[in-house]
């Protein structure tokens, strides 16, 4: 058995940022366990630009953004094991992992950072009728085939779901010579970033059809076409609007699911909306010494925010390792009108710092206000020209407001139209 102060599960942008921050805070022994052959996570296949605008103030591609952190990790004495899959985390933070070289690894950790990322929602979860032929894949899988393996997964493409990966792949496939016929979105709005709709669809004249879904796949061997239909306000397909579209590929970009199987096995409480752990402002879960950050906690829109959140987790883990448990008085954050979820779900009012609450709204708002209310008092009310489900928002609880709270206090974030 090995001993490490900190075990970081996942070597994507979240894991690397958390490990680096913990190192900076003075944690001596840190190990990153990464499932893939290299550090970097999903960024390695995101060869488009648009990363780093917020964090670095410049526009980078995914691999470039990752490379900056990989270089920083390499300059430290952080141990990295790639091709290593974590199988289990025990009640006492004993981590079991496996790889080809070391076989079974047993690592006793003082603290653990969960940074496993997320996975794409597959076809099976959607109840699309029809055949189970080839040519139906998630947009991320298609992205790997094109960008890493160098093969075309399709020539005539329909994309279901207007999540960011789907939008990015619409442009990518077009640039590679495929015909992207349409992007269908079940909801009356896109779940992706506005900039991606403009740069990936509008610039290439790819139609985005809102309130439209794929109801059936056709083709015995390879996909030959799909039937699409508009949906009513209960999201049920309208029979009279059915339309056949010939295509050999259906790409799905219909949501991301945080990969929390390990988290659940530890018995950590999960937020039903984010599908990630319930955490405090340092991203500590309800299991002492276990922190979570990045897309395993909640799906982010920009990697920059993943980095910043993960630094908090790294700092939190470092404080836990170096100073032990802190005095804590928790107050839950509560979602008000229009707010789907809040992260962190609870705040230690003894924290002493400003606390940023991240959230997403449930629909598109124009000229609405984001209101933070603590103990019934409006702390801030910010006017927003536009709020959209595809974009993450945040509000800050100032340190002096937190200092005045007690265990019966309330924190509410809501949208006012």
């Amino acid at each position: 058995m090995m001993n490490y102060d900190l075990v970081v599960v996942g070597g994507g942008p979240a894991g690397m940022a958390a490990a680096l921050k913990a190192k900076e805070c003075g944690v001596e022994s840190i190990i990153i366990l990464e499932r893939a052959e290299t550090l970097g996570g999903i960024l390695e296949q995101c060869i488009h630009s648009g990363f780093g605008l917020t964090y670095f103030g410049e526009e980078l591609s995914g691999p470039e953004y990752a490379a900056r952190f990989i270089e920083m990790v390499e300059k430290t004495d952080i141990t990295v094991k790639t091709d290593a899959m974590v199988l289990d985390i025990s009640e006492s933070n004993l981590v079991t992992a496996v790889n080809k070289k070391d076989g079974l690894l047993k690592i006793q950790a003082k603290a653990v950072v969960l940074a496993m990322g997320c996975r794409e929602r597959p076809r099976g979860a959607l109840e699309i009728a029809g055949s189970r032929c080839s040519g139906i894949m998630t947009a991320g899988t298609a992205q790997k085939y094109v960008n890493l393996d160098g093969y075309m997964p399709g020539k005539k493409v329909v994309i279901l779901g207007s999540g960011d990966i789907g939008l990015i792949m619409a442009r990518r496939m077009t640039l590679e010579g495929a015909e992207v016929k349409v992007v269908c979105e079940l909801m009356p709005f896109s779940g992706g970033l506005n900039r991606n709709i403009v740069q990936c669809l509008n610039d290439y004249n790819i139609p985005l059809r809102l309130s439209t879904t794929v109801v059936e796949c056709h083709g015995k061997d390879r996909l030959e076409g799909v039937t699409i239909a508009q949906v009513d306000d209960k999201l049920q397909p309208i029979e009279s609007t059915k339309e056949y579209i010939e295509c050999d590929t259906l790409m799905l970009s219909v949501g991301l699911i945080p990969e929390n199987e390990l988290t659940k096995n530890v018995g950590i409480a999960i937020d039903r909306v984010t599908n990630g752990a319930v955490v405090d402002e340092m991203r500590q879960t309800d299991h002492k010494g276990v922190f979570a950050c990045g897309n395993v906690l909640h799906v982010h829109d920009l990697v920059d925010f993943v980095t910043m959140e993960s630094q908090l987790a790294g700092q939190g883990a470092a404080e836990y390792i170096l100073n032990g448990e802190k005095e804590t008085v928790y107050v839950n954050s509560t979602t008000g009108n229009g707010v789907r979820y809040l992260v962190p779900q609870r705040v230690n009012i003894k924290n002493g710092n400003d606390v940023k609450l991240y959230f997403r709204v449930g629909k598109i708002y124009k000229n609405a206000k984001v209101v933070l209310e603590c103990d019934g008092e409006v702390i801030s009310s910010k006017k927003k020209v536009k709020l959209a489900p595809g974009e993450m928002e945040n509000v800050v609880i100032p340190a002096d407001v937190l200092a005045k709270m007690n265990e019966n206090s309330t924190i509410v974030v809501r949208v006012e139209e």
């Binding site: 080809k100 996975r119 099976g124 109840e127 009728a129 790997k144 590679e176 056709h218 061997d221």
Partner: protein
């Protein structure tokens, strides 16, 4: 070369029959039209080992079912495939349905089904607390069980091949000639000569019979649609829960699977295109509606995937087993709808006997070994077993499928096995890679790479399930 026996169709009947025949010094061929074995009704059914109370006394279905149910645990053990004796319940929702339950009980007793009882509401709810509150009682059959039908078929094929059977895939039979006591099967894999033919071609068995001029077999195709739900709800029920049967079948069931998922379905719809295994919006809706009647907590929000399978319903409503009236060297194994899987071990023994009796003086195959060595399954292994396996072969230390914890070593084993995997779905059925909640989102491309490496081809040659089901086109520009 001329085979003694050629079995047309490598479903559960064909594969188990091939294995039975490999006990003898016979040259046996197992022919399969598709790219892999277990591609028809075998891979898409309820995966139930029925106790045997459904079929009318005196039918082939009744006798083979009861016998097959008794044999199944032993066969599964020999072949190292999972079997679970979980028992079944036919649930009644009214006094009228309780009458049906009692009739089924009487029928079961007449068929010789052991361990049958009629239980009341309290006992039923104690056994299965997640059943609906308006249940009245049930028929309990403790001998019923669950298996994985494609794993059973793959294992039986492997064992048959190990014992000398030739398994020839992509060998669709297009025509059959007969001269001088020998059949010539015109197949996509070339001409195959054989003295005896066993027609186990499932929904196509009537087409095959017609090739020798036997018009007696008439198959109607009934499609059944299902959902597979996530393992997180796999313990909703422990028994297989049936509703009272109707004319079209046994109704919608809710059942655990040997892999820990929950299975709900099937519908029953007669269709014309024998190979159309599409699911339909209305079929999936029916499965949802009717499964909730048994278990209100069942929700397709936990669905991992949906699928459908086509069952070969004989218009005579009973299995068609035995020599053809047109040519006694041609042996029917047709109309094997439910309880076909349950009956399969017994049908296989019967068919082997028909052939060996007809040939006469058949010698035993002394080197026959009916035991199939257990396949290493990382997810089931202890830490010690895992460490030892990785020391033996480091590929057991590389996890490819996260959801089902499948290693590269297991995938390589599946490809290199006798009649091994040659496509992505073949790897999936043999190892469960891609069968979990992400449905191959992560491991799919890795499985493609491993297949290409092992088979010595390019990754764009790899298919999902043979034929034109390629996954990738050309290289990018």
């Amino acid at each position: 070369m001329c085979y003694d026996v050629a079995i047309i169709g490598a479903g559960v009947i064909g594969a188990l029959t091939a294995r039975e025949l490999s006990r003898y010094k016979l040259k046996t061929a197992l022919l399969e039209a598709r790219h892999d074995v277990a591609m028809g009704a075998t891979k898409a059914n309820s995966a139930i080992v029925h106790a045997g109370f459904d079929a009318m006394p005196g039918t082939l279905k009744a006798s083979f079912n009861v016998k097959g149910c008794e044999m199944m645990p032993g066969v599964c053990k020999e072949l190292s495939v999972p079997y679970k004796n979980n028992g079944s319940l036919v649930v009644a929702f009214s006094e009228e349905e309780m009458e049906t339950v009692k009739k089924l009980y009487d029928r079961g007793i007449a068929n010789g089904v052991p361990q049958l009882s009629v239980i009341g509401k309290d006992e039923l709810k104690a056994l299965e607390p997640n059943l609906a509150d308006n249940v009245c009682g049930a028929l309990r059959a403790e001998s019923a069980g669950i298996v994985c039908p494609y794993e059973l078929t793959i294992a039986a094929t492997e064992n048959a091949v190990t014992n000398g059977v030739d398994c020839i895939r992509d060998a669709k039979v297009e025509a059959i000639d007969f001269a001088d006591g020998v059949f010539t099967l015109k197949t996509a894999a070339g001409d195959i000569k054989t003295k005896y033919v066993i027609d186990a071609a499932g929904v196509h068995s009537d087409d095959i019979a017609r090739m020798i001029g036997d018009e007696s077999v008439e198959i109607v195709v009934r499609r059944g649609e299902y959902f597979i739900l996530d393992k997180s709800v796999g313990n909703t029920v422990s028994h297989t829960i049936f509703q009272c049967p109707t004319k079209m079948g046994k109704g919608i069931l809710v059942s655990p699977t040997v892999d820990g998922n929950l299975l709900i379905g099937p519908t029953a719809e007669e269709i014309d295109d024998k190979d159309d295994v599409s699911t339909t919006p209305s079929g999936l809706r029916d499965v949802k509606t009717f499964s909730v009647k048994s278990c209100p907590s069942v929700s397709t929000r936990n669905a991992i995937t949906s699928f459908s399978g086509n069952r070969a319903h004989p218009v005579t409503d009973d299995f068609i087993l035995g020599p053809s009236k047109v040519n006694p060297q041609f042996i029917h194994a047709s109309g094997i709808e439910s309880p076909g899987l349950s009956s399969a071990p017994a049908i296989a023994v019967y068919l082997a006997k028909v052939v060996t009796d007809a040939i006469g003086n058949v010698e035993a195959n002394e080197s026959f070994n009916g035991e199939r060595k257990e396949v290493f399954r990382f997810r089931h292994a202890t830490d010690e077993e895992r460490a030892a396996a990785i020391a033996r072969n480091p590929a057991y230390g590389r996890i490819i499928c996260r959801c089902e914890t499948v290693t590269e070593g297991e995938i390589i084993d599946a490809i290199r096995a006798p009649a091994g995997a040659r496509d992505v779905d073949g790897v999936k059925r043999r190892t469960r890679a891609g069968m979990g909640r992400c449905q191959g989102g992560f491991c799919g491309s890795k499985v493609v790479e491993i297949l290409a490496r092992e088979l010595g081809c390019e990754i764009n040659d790899i298919t999902k399930f043979g034929d034109g089901s390629n996954i990738l086109f050309d290289k990018t520009k």
